[in-house]
Symmetry: C2
Subunit: 312 residues, 2 copies
Amino acid sequence: MSARTLDGQALAARIQQELIPQVEAFKHTHGRPPALGILLVGDDPASDVYVRNKVRSGREAGMRVDMLRMPATATLRDTLTAVEAWNVDDAIDGILVQSPLPAAMGHDAEQQVIDTIAPAKDVDGFGAFSVGMLVQNRPTLVACTPSGVIELLDREGIPIAGQHAVVIGRSDIVGKPMAILLLHRDATVTICHSRTRNLAEEARRADIVVAAVGRPGLVRRDFVKPGATVIDVGINRVDDPDLAASLFPAGHPRLETFRKKGAFLVGDVHPEVEAVAGALTPVPGGVGPLTIAMLMKNTLKAAQSRVAVPVG
Amino acid sequence: MSARTLDGQALAARIQQELIPQVEAFKHTHGRPPALGILLVGDDPASDVYVRNKVRSGREAGMRVDMLRMPATATLRDTLTAVEAWNVDDAIDGILVQSPLPAAMGHDAEQQVIDTIAPAKDVDGFGAFSVGMLVQNRPTLVACTPSGVIELLDREGIPIAGQHAVVIGRSDIVGKPMAILLLHRDATVTICHSRTRNLAEEARRADIVVAAVGRPGLVRRDFVKPGATVIDVGINRVDDPDLAASLFPAGHPRLETFRKKGAFLVGDVHPEVEAVAGALTPVPGGVGPLTIAMLMKNTLKAAQSRVAVPVG
């Protein structure tokens, strides 16, 4: 038996295609495109790649994407000022500040910046108000990775209601909102983390496992009930040859890639899980691309809400 | 074996006593007492009792409690205006609008009123912003019933970290914040509800069970692992003699009460659980009195935060 692959890349492309006519209709009605402002501070190379993908996705969907670059020497005050300008700019619907901010800005700079984004424009769904609205099951902008997972389950026809879901990881951006979304879809939800005893046993009770901890290959075969759906949110860069060799059998093509490039990306789910899961997201090409597609959906949704109720 | 009784009434009295010198110190420093505004609209008899208890508790602790009564004919606008006046009244630290509001105000009146309370004065912790701050594990005012449960577990020396907790019920005011608080205290948390399959089996895995669904006697003996801690948040009025007879053995003094009064209050936990649980909260006299004590703690906390950072 081999798990069905849940192709996040393909679904992300489909969502992007579906957005095009909706963005077109918005433009036609309102005389302007939905617009996203992305602020990138500093020169983290990974952030550069992420931001480029977001800009491209937005523009391909027909949206306006304003990209503001600030040098690594920018102050927190500079950053807040930029966000505040977008808050009051009526032509901007969504605001995203790429993480991480330069360390020199201080440990709670990111929190302060997120707190400053107007809730109506909080397309990442990271603000306290957005999170509270989500928990209360009220209309709001929801964090893109967990909402992408729900979209994937729905489109793949995987039932959620009445199922037992186990979320491994309790981060603010994935684990906690993921648990809440699954709960609101009538799953019985268990949240596990580093202090959980018998993690394998807990996970093995699940019909749906979501792994979001950032530990390569953590979820082993014995974590998974035969036939369960396994969603791998982790994207971990592995450059240790021993760790690489522990993840794939000798002769596997990914080990060849590793030898050539000296590193590769793997998820939190060990590849051996493929033999026992019913359905599984690959890494890369699973949840990652969906996150960006959901960001574009959120931007359109923010635009539609703002023209319906002109606040923020 | 018989479960240890977790005496919420006694703990509530102790918390009240502890507040007195702190309230006194606040008055001494700031020249005014911490102050709570309670708005009661209409003439629901149960609300009357609840509000009276809250007023008495606050005053016994040395606080100022302003009680504003509005007739059942008051409009939503009247109610919002009253809240707005307290929002900008610098001498008021906490605002509580007693639930339920008159049905004639409309189904989302309560939500609108809660949304209007300034977050810094949201002593019930029901506003979206307060909830989001709680989920993000940031300093905020937390809903009184679930925070009372944590206080009770702590004071009784019942460990939470690394334990498996099962919360039955997913309400905004108890179930969901309870799960989040237990998670932040490093419990592995499962949230169950009406759509959960094998509820008894899920609950039986718990070291700590919190029942908050409002169904008399739902949690039976087979829901509880021997020695587990069982927290009963339900307060249900039973006036059906058959239901009463199914809850207590013939000759039990509570059945005598029932015969005299025609009704009694029971929790979500069946009395037979006492024989198997390690520790158990009674109903009445368990979580109920704690909720009011925590409201007073929240009012003091709101007052202290407001003088530290004068906002809202």
